[in-house]
Amino acid sequence: MIARWIAFWDEREGPAALALVRIFVGLAVLGDLLQAGARGAVSAVWAPAPLGSGWGQMATPAPLVVAWLGASVHAAWATWWLAIICALMLLFGLGYRIGSWLLVFAVVELWRLTPDGGDGIDALLRIVLPLLALSRANACWSCDAWLARRFARPMPATVPAWPRYLLVVQLLWLYFSAAHHRGSAAWGPAGGFSAVGEVLGDPHFARFFPGSLRALYPLTQLATALTMLFEFSAPLALLWIWLDKHPGRGGRFGDAVRRLRIRWLWVGVGISLHLGIAVTMQIGVFPFAMLALYPALFGPEEITSLLEKLRRTRIASSIAAAWSPAR
């Protein structure tokens, strides 16, 4: 049993899934930080009062950037710039080890400057980024991989799978935890599945003026019910993944799960819910950063096969060719 447990965490696989997570997470982090810059919010969020909303500068011990640069607007901007540069390094897989650990440092420091200037997605990224930094997510579709080939020292064809497994566990736990924290009746039949409709009535979060989507209320009820079903069933996704990975296992139940494509259905519901959130609510990068982790739910061979199918379509052929895992 212990030997099998050790062997499980020692598994290796192709780098495609982790590389896609790296690229999407890099895009999400970069997009969010650039938005702060474009909206004129960098000082407002991270500079110390009264020049901004930061209060972590007064903490003991002070954040490292404050110890080095002082409690100033410059410290806020310097940390933001460091995060931008490192997010670019993560996205392009350039100087990956250094860039990804520096990004971990930068996002933690930004959090320390303004501890309440963030939400669940920031807390999740502070867990995800160190896992990515420990992985070999730069082994394909990266500048590092390209440079390694140029110098005749190509990256390994397989990388440790455990960072992806941990990302999957983290993602599924987040959903399950969110579900069992929803004590409000509005999330269940007793409250008429009214929760999503109520969020859309909150002027601080609704993208459209509250009440303007009243005709779609039944749809919001369906979305509420689907959200709870999706999140409560998250632990089962481990079973769906395992059954899909082992085609001969699970007996008739396993066959039915594979035939009905339950895992794909579950993932499809998740994507739809996050896209629905992105369209109807103003909560920033949350839905996109969550979706950035979804490639971890697939084996690298599934991702390469999906890209292969993409390659066969005429429109996408040029894009897919550029994205060949061999590159």
Binding site: A178, H181, G197, E198, D202, H204, G211
Partner: protein, 191 residues
């Protein structure tokens, strides 16, 4: 050597999973606590202490990465009484306040792009346990910004209108009450 490393890595991952599981024990709200059977309620009350002592030795490491918890209470409560932020200002001789910004009001949309950036919204949007610690710092920054942009104004106030979410997607209704009011004078912020 490689075998030792494989075993050590598996042990570390097991520890990580175990700590994550402990950190994710659900927090039970006082409201829910009252509805639980006595035995379960007692257990729910003792869990946070056990959780705290089990996680204590690893707290410095978790803190270094800014990892607070594995509890993910996302939109745990909705509806009921919510809030709508108002930003107002007035000149020295004015008797009335001028509305500069109000959430979901395109006619009063001063600094809309900045204020609606999600990280700032997290600071000014009251959550179920009250207001963010950074709210006073945020309002001071905002008032200062108003004084810089509008030399005619002498006072700024930021407050939250209490609203009630209506049933069946009908939007919201004002209760007429305001909370979390912060008011500043020009002299106070730009001496």
């Amino acid at each position: 050597m490689k075998q030792v490393w494989r075993s050590l890595r598996a042990a570390l991952i097991t520890l990580l999973l175990l700590l994550g599981f402990i950190a994710g024990w659900p927090k039970v709200s006082p409201k829910l606590l009252g509805r639980l059977p006595p035995g379960l309620a007692r257990l729910a009350q003792t869990l946070p202490d056990i959780q705290g002592s089990l996680l204590q030795p690893f707290a410095p490491l978790a803190d270094a990465f800014g990892i607070n918890s594995e509890n993910w209470a996302l939109f745990a409560t909705t509806g009921g009484i919510r809030h709508r932020m108002w930003v107002e200002a007035r000149g020295h001789h004015d008797h009335t306040w001028t509305l500069l910004h109000r959430a979901q009001d395109d006619e009063h949309a001063y600094l809309k792009e900045t204020l609606e950036y999600r990280r700032l919204r997290m600071i000014w949007n009251p959550h179920r346990y009250g207001m963010a610690t950074g709210y006073p710092a945020f309002t001071r920054w905002l008032a200062r910004r108003v004084f810089e942009d509008f030399p005619a104004f002498d006072r700024v106030r930021v407050r939250q209108e209490q609203i009630e979410i209506q049933a069946r997607g009908a939007g919201f209704r004002s209760t007429g009450a305001f909370v979390y009011k912060q008011e500043y004078s020009r002299r106070e912020l730009l001496p």
